[in-house]
């Protein structure tokens, strides 16, 4: 049995971020244009297939991304959860029991190496990305997809796919232990007014 490392959600989520960052300006080379020009809000639908769950798990809510590097996931179903990733920390808040967690980023934990990759991409350090990953871009009539495959074995995911299909954006993550997840996103709104919402959710997650 392949051992599954933690931080599944964290990794999945940050891939999503990566994808979102690239989404508005995808026309050119996706790797060189991973820059947000303003805050965006998406509706999302997420499906997870875990080896330890008999049925797929479904979740939905909103995703907000800010060009300053902050990403907020507001899960509304099946229960309300707030997750905020800043360049420095990952915050978690579960209103049902008031539980709050905080993890500094980037951590030396192997489970968050996905974030390190993301930071390299956002810094434009493509050389470092290509050192650890194989990158492949496909284009079809239905859309395009970018496939990242780790070269080493110490990365806890097998493959990450970012792409569009018939106008829908999606993110697929295949874990090393066989767990998979797929998130589809629909652009909801964008503009600087979203900064206020992002800040409010950030404060909520920090408990201020």
């Amino acid at each position: 049995m392949v051992k599954r490392s933690g931080w599944t959600e964290c990794r999945r989520w940050l891939w999503l971020w990566l994808w979102l960052c690239g989404a508005p300006a995808w026309a050119g080379d996706p790797l060189t244009e991973l820059v947000l020009d303003r805050p965006y809000q998406f509706r999302y639908q997420e499906t997870r297939r875990l080896a330890l769950l008999t049925e797929p798990w479904h979740g939905s809510g909103f995703l907000l991304a800010d060009p300053d590097g902050t990403l907020v996931k507001l899960q509304l179903l099946p229960e309300r959860l707030v997750l905020v990733a800043t360049p420095d920390a990952l915050l978690y808040y579960r209103p049902a029991d008031g539980e709050r967690r905080c993890l500094p980023l980037p951590s030396s934990l192997p489970q968050v190496q996905g974030i390190v990759l993301l930071q390299r991409l956002l810094r434009g350090d493509l050389e470092a990305v290509r050192r650890d990953f194989l990158l492949k871009t496909d284009e079809t009539k239905a859309g395009w997809r970018l496939v990242l495959t780790p070269k080493g074995t110490d990365v806890p995911f097998r493959r990450v796919i970012l792409g569009t299909k018939n106008g829908d954006r999606y993110l697929e993550i295949q874990e090393a232990n066989g767990d998979r997840s797929r998130t589809t996103l629909i652009l909801d709104e964008y503009g600087d007014h979203l900064k206020v919402r992002i800040a409010r959710l950030y404060r909520q997650a920090r408990g201020e």
């Binding site: 051992k3 905080c102 993890l103 500094p104 192997p110």
Partner: protein, 755 residues
């Protein structure tokens, strides 16, 4: 001539042995606490690994500014510094922790509870299984369930997480409060001063190069204190030794105005200091810096003996004859001073035991050098009579108004006795140790940010073997849990469940086997199915075993730094405490065998109080012994008392001065009073005996002695250590006062005519 060369050769030899053998110690704790068995174990544990760690607080100058990025870059640079073993952020859970959690999960069935008999019925309650399955599902879907997947597969009932309840705080990183704390573990020992100093220079260079504009960096840790204390003590030793030696020599030259006599006296003093240092080194294995600083005052005491000889030689007497004639008085004076220093050592205070040895051997060496070496150096030397007009005037005044002045002495004694109850006592050793206030402030700032474990306070467990120690620690942990619930304790760092006694493991296993029956497994499978969880991988509940937890992972020791000490004949364990109510913790563990609450500071201050009582006893006992020696010498109890009285009055003046001024008095002052008495008695002896046959020369010699002693002790006041300042003030006042009372209270063997 021949004996001069012999003495010089011996001195050179002594100097070489001193240079080769003497090891200088600068740790303040060694001087203040020595190796007191009550305090030492906790210190030793704290100094093991903790002591090598630096804490670096990084705060943005502008509130709210991001700090993590800068901390990250700095961390990478610091990790490359020579002498740094590793650097990590306190807000980062140690990577090893998650791995270790998985490792502990392999033994979940034997470590899940501290009270299995009470908790097992609830933990394995079939009615609650649906609830547990739901919790398991939530854990699997939790985005922050870092590293828990392997734990879940091995221990689907999540018994491991139950066991780690006391450790939840460690898994929950502190809220991002706009600062970062980096831990820097150094490779050299905390008290390898030179290596630590070099490392601190390298760290400072990294801070400078790190472009830290906009950030405030505060570094603390035991090595910082150690290096700073060493620098201060070294500075004190240099300053005091230099000032004392130069001052004494200047006074000497001013009085005798001849360089050759200075050389002669220097030879005596060199024998005294070298002898003292060597004896201390041989007896203790080191010489403390503060002992050296205090020992340098010996120059002022020991110079009295050659001064007496020189003052009488100035009357054109042959040195040999003068020394022989003065010898009984010199020996008696030296003997009484020796008694004072020995009483100082008998006070039990570790630092002063060393000072006593240093001084006792130094005095003996000075006496012997005066008797057998000095005449060779003084023969043929042109000597001048010391001129001390103000002292001569006082002598005349005292003789004229002796009766009135005696009344004044009586009044002084009475007033001092009346003021005794008003004295304020200072028993806080931390204040006396004069730890650098800036560093203390810095340290407090960093630790206030951590809000974690209180240094120096812990629950201490001892037992003849590790198994018994663990059982005792488990009992203590249960008590501490209850205190935490009551709010008397913020948090604590137990050894459970990293270390679990075999007895508790057996109890856990027994309860587990009793409850995890086929019926239980069937119900659990149903609960898993109902929660939508995979039955097959999550229903394999171990029944073969027990899976004993035996050898500890070396990485556990990283987490339990300074908590486990396994010796040949015993095991010591420590449970570190967060903020707590000391009385509540003490009471909670009071009845547990081999368990006690240990507060280093309280204990140290209790020690200080004990020292004070002992110092008072030493003061009385020392005075009585000196009186006894004097009474034996003069064949009269009253004559002995008469010689002792000026010195007692000197001591009483010190006490009265402190009572009136309101300055708190420590046991150091009491010991200083004893020292002043021991020194002053010499003057009274010389004044009474006047063995040189020249009364004026005797009083001049006494005056010169008093001036050199006062100069030496005044130089001690230049030190930054409050202990040395206290001694300086008290001895100086006592000696001057004792000297001045001599002609008032002591009747010489043959009173000179008024003319």
């Amino acid at each position: 001539m021949k004996s001069r060369w012999l003495a010089a050769a011996l001195l050179v030899l002594l100097g070489m042995v001193v240079a080769l053998q003497v090891r200088l110690e600068t740790r303040l704790t060694v001087f203040f606490l020595g190796s007191d068995p009550a305090v030492e174990p906790l210190s030793r544990l704290q100094q093991s690994r903790f002591a090598r760690r630096y804490l670096l607080l990084i705060e943005p100058v502008r509130s709210g500014a991001a700090v993590a990025g800068f901390a990250r870059r700095l961390r990478v640079r610091l990790a490359r510094v020579e002498g740094v073993v590793r650097v990590w952020s306190l807000s980062d859970p140690p990577p090893a922790m998650l791995d270790l959690l998985r490792r502990q999960a392999e033994h979940a069935e034997v470590l899940y509870s501290l009270e299995p008999e009470r908790e097992a019925p609830v933990l394995f309650d079939i009615e609650r299984l649906p609830e547990r399955a739901e919790r398991l599902r939530r854990t699997l879907l939790s985005p922050l369930a870092a590293g828990l997947q392997p734990v879940v597969r091995r221990d689907p009932l999540l018994l491991t997480l139950h066991a780690f309840e006391d450790w939840r705080d460690r898994f929950r990183p502190p809220r991002n409060a706009g600062f970062e704390v980096l831990v820097i573990e150094a490779e050299p020992e905390a008290f390898a001063i030179e290596r630590q100093r070099a490392l601190q220079r390298r760290l400072q260079a990294v801070f400078t190069a790190a472009d830290a504009d906009g950030y405030r960096l505060t570094l603390t840790g035991v090595p910082i204190f150690a290096v700073r204390a060493q620098a201060r003590i070294q500075k004190d030793v240099t300053r005091v030794t230099l000032a004392s030696t130069l001052g004494v020599l200047a006074v000497f030259l001013g009085l005798f105005r001849t360089l050759r006599s200075l050389v002669a006296v220097a030879v005596v003093l060199a024998f005294s200091v070298a002898g003292g240092a060597l004896a201390t080194q041989w007896l203790f294995g080191y010489v403390h810096g503060l002992t050296l600083a205090l020992g340098s005052t010996l120059v002022g005491v020991c110079i009295d003996y050659p001064i007496h000889v020189l003052a009488h030689c100035a009357g054109h007497h042959r040195p040999e004859t003068v020394v022989r004639r003065l010898w009984p008085a010199l020996a008696l004076g030296g003997g009484t001073t020796l008694i004072g220093y020995l009483a100082l050592g008998a006070s039990g205070y570790p630092g002063f035991q060393q000072v006593a040895v240093f001084a006792a051997v130094g005095i003996l060496a000075a006496l012997l050098a005066t008797r057998y070496v000095l005449p060779a150096f003084v023969t043929g030397c042109p000597l001048h009579r010391p001129r001390l007009r103000p002292l001569a005037a006082w002598l005349a005044f005292a003789r004229r108004h002796r009766r009135r002045l005696r009344w004044l002495a009586l009044v002084t004694l009475t007033v001092a006795a009346a003021l005794w109850p008003r004295l304020k006592w200072l028993d806080d050793l931390e204040k006396l140790a004069a730890i650098d206030p800036d560093l203390k402030l810095q340290d407090r700032r960093v630790r206030a940010r951590l809000g974690g474990i209180e240094p120096g306070r812990a629950v201490w467990i001892e037992a003849p073997d590790l198994e018994t120690a663990l059982q005792r620690a488990e009992a203590a942990t249960l008590r501490l849990r209850r205190l935490k619930v009551k709010g008397a304790l913020d948090h604590f760092q137990p050894l459970y469940p990293w270390y679990v006694s075999r007895q508790l493991q057996a109890r856990n296993w027994q309860q587990y086997r009793a409850h995890v029956t086929p019926g239980f497994v069937k119900a659990w499978r149903q609960a898993l199915r109902d929660a939508g969880l995979a039955v097959l991988p999550l229903s394999r509940l171990p029944t073969a075993g027990p899976p004993w937890l035996t050898a500890s992972d070396p990485r556990v020791m990283e987490i339990l730094a300074g908590q486990v000490q396994i010796l040949e004949d015993r095991a010591n364990l420590v449970i570190w405490l967060g903020r707590h109510d000391p009385a509540a913790v003490r009471a909670a563990v009071a009845d547990l065998d081999g368990v006690r609450y240990l507060s280093q500071r309280d204990r140290v201050n209790r020690l200080a109080r004990r020292y004070r009582h002992r110092a008072a006893l030493a003061l009385v006992a020392g005075s009585v012994v000196i009186w006894g020696v004097l009474a034996w010498r003069y064949r009269s109890v009253l004559a002995g008392l008469q010689v002792l009285t000026p010195a007692l009055l000197g001591g009483a003046t010190i006490v009265a001065g402190f009572a009136v001024s309101g300055f708190p008095l420590s046991f150091f002052h009491l010991l200083a009073a004893l020292l002043a008495i021991a020194i002053c008695v010499d003057y009274a002896i010389f004044y009474r005996e006047r063995r040189g046959g020249d009364p004026d020369a005797t009083y001049r010699a006494m005056g010169a002695s008093m001036l050199t002693t006062v100069t030496a002790f005044a130089a001690l006041g230049l030190a930054t250590q409050p202990v040395l300042q206290a001694l300086s003030l008290a001895v100086t006042c006592g000696v001057v006062s004792g000297y001045l009372w001599c002609p008032v209270l002591v009747v010489p063997v043959s009173e000179p005519t008024e003319s």
